[in-house]
C-alpha cells in the first residue's frame, strides 16, 4: 500500500503535460518509476476506476485522470455503483 506514491503519479499525469506525454508513450514504464505495489501498478495501467477508488485515491485526482481516458460520466458512475 503506497497511496501517497499512487496519488503522486496521478497528480503528475493530470497537471503536467511533460509527465502526461511520458505516461502516454509508455504507461508501464512510467508507472514503474513510482514506488507502487503490483496491484496499484495494474490498477493505473488498466484505468480500473473502482479499484483506484477503493485504494483510496482522492476523487479529484481520480476523476480528472479518468477524463484523460475519455471515461464518460455514466461509465464512471457505473464503476463506482454500490460503493460508499
Amino acid at each position: 500500500m503506497s497511496l501517497y506514491q499512487l496519488q503522486k503519479l496521478l497528480y503528475h499525469v493530470n497537471r503536467d503535460p511533460s509527465h502526461r506525454e511520458r505516461y502516454r508513450q509508455d504507461p508501464v514504464g512510467f508507472v514503474s518509476s513510482y514506488e507502487l505495489t503490483p496491484e496499484e501498478e495494474s490498477a493505473v495501467v488498466k484505468v480500473d476506476v473502482r479499484k483506484l477508488y477503493a485504494l483510496g485515491v482522492h476523487s479529484l485526482l481520480l476523476r480528472p485522470f479518468t477524463l484523460l481516458h475519455q471515461v464518460s460520466n455514466e461509465d464512471y458512475a457505473k464503476a463506482l455503483a454500490g460503493l460508499e
Binding site: 501517497y4 482522492h58 476523487s59 479529484l60 476523476r63 480528472p64 477524463l67 463506482l80 460503493l83
Partner: protein, 271 residues
C-alpha cells in the same frame, strides 16, 4: 481606489466540458447570467481582479499544502485540464498589487504562502472564461485550501476576507473581487451528482442577508456531511462576504444542474 465589483460564482467543469449534458434551457439561462455578470465586471473598469479561489491538485500536493497562498507573478498558465474545452492561455498577473497585498498580510497577522509560479485549473479558469473572457484584467489569485483537511475554518476565512477587503479598499487600483467555488457537491465520489438543495438555499440566504454569525459558525464536519467534500469551497464565498460586509447581496442565479453535479449559483454584491 476601492473595490469596484464583487461577485461569487460556481465553477462546475461541466459548464464548459459537457455543457450540452444539462437541460438546454437551464444551461442557457445560467450561462447567460454568468456572461452578463462579466459585462457588469467590465463596466466597473477594474485595474485588477483578485480571485478568491481554490484548486484541485493543480499546484499543491500532499508534500506541501498551504492554507492560504497568494500568487505574486506577472502571469499564470491554465487550464491544466485539456478536457475542459477552454483553450490553454497565459493569464496576466499583477506583480505590483500581489506583493503589496502580501506585505499587508504579514503586517496584520496573516501569514499566507506566496508563489511565483502557479497554474490555474477550472476553479479559476472557468470563472475567468465567463467574467474576464479576453483575460484583459490582470489577476491576483488568493487560493484557499478547501481540498484536503485540515483546512482554514469558515470563521478564519471570513476574517481573512475582512482583512483583504479593508486592504483593497485602500488600494490605488480599482479592484474586482471574485470568489469561486461550488455549493453542495460530491465531485468524483460514489455520491457524484447528488445536490443538497435545502443546504444550498439556506447558505445563499445566510450570505444574502449578511448574517456574519451564520456564515462563521459553519463547522468543517457540518459542511462535509451536508454539502460534501466539494462543499468546502463555500469558504471562498464566506471570505468574500467578509470582504464586502456592508454591501447588499443579490442572488443572480441558482440552478441545481444535475448533469453538472452541483448547485450552481451567482451572487453579486453592490456597494
Amino acid at each position: 481606489m476601492p473595490i469596484v465589483f464583487a461577485c461569487a460564482a460556481s465553477h462546475a467543469p461541466g459548464m464548459t466540458a459537457w455543457t450540452e449534458a444539462a437541460p438546454k434551457e437551464q444551461a442557457d439561462r445560467f450561462l447567460q447570467r454568468y456572461r452578463k455578470l462579466g459585462e457588469r465586471l467590465a463596466a466597473s473598469k477594474p485595474d485588477a481582479l483578485v480571485a478568491i479561489t481554490v484548486e484541485h491538485w493543480a499546484n499543491f500536493f500532499l508534500n506541501q499544502m498551504p492554507a492560504f497562498c497568494i500568487g505574486r507573478t506577472d502571469h499564470y498558465e491554465g487550464p491544466v485540464e485539456e478536457w475542459l474545452r477552454i483553450p490553454r492561455s497565459r493569464v496576466p498577473g499583477d506583480p505590483k498589487l500581489s506583493p503589496q497585498l502580501l506585505d499587508a498580510c504579514f503586517d496584520n497577522g496573516f501569514d499566507p504562502t506566496f508563489s511565483d509560479e502557479l497554474v490555474f485549473d477550472h476553479a479559476t479558469m472557468l470563472p475567468l472564461h465567463f467574467l474576464n473572457p479576453n483575460l484583459a484584467v490582470p489577476v491576483v489569485p488568493v487560493i484557499i485550501n478547501t481540498l484536503t483537511p485540515p483546512m482554514p475554518t469558515p470563521k478564519r476565512c471570513f476574517e481573512f476576507g475582512q482583512f483583504l477587503g479593508s486592504e483593497l479598499e485602500r488600494s490605488e487600483k480599482r479592484v474586482a473581487l471574485v470568489a469561486t467555488g461550488g455549493l453542495s457537491h460530491w465531485p468524483g465520489e460514489a455520491k457524484h451528482g447528488k445536490i443538497n438543495i435545502p443546504f444550498d438555499q439556506k447558505f445563499l440566504e445566510t450570505l444574502r442577508s449578511g448574517d456574519r454569525t451564520g456564515l462563521t459558525k459553519y463547522s468543517h464536519q457540518e459542511i462535509y456531511d451536508e454539502a460534501g467534500s466539494g462543499g468546502h469551497e463555500i469558504r471562498t464565498w464566506i471570505a468574500l462576504a467578509g470582504a464586502v460586509q456592508s454591501w447588499p447581496a443579490e442572488l443572480v442565479a441558482y440552478e441545481p444542474v444535475v448533469p453538472w453535479a452541483t448547485g450552481c449559483a451567482l451572487v453579486a454584491f453592490r456597494s
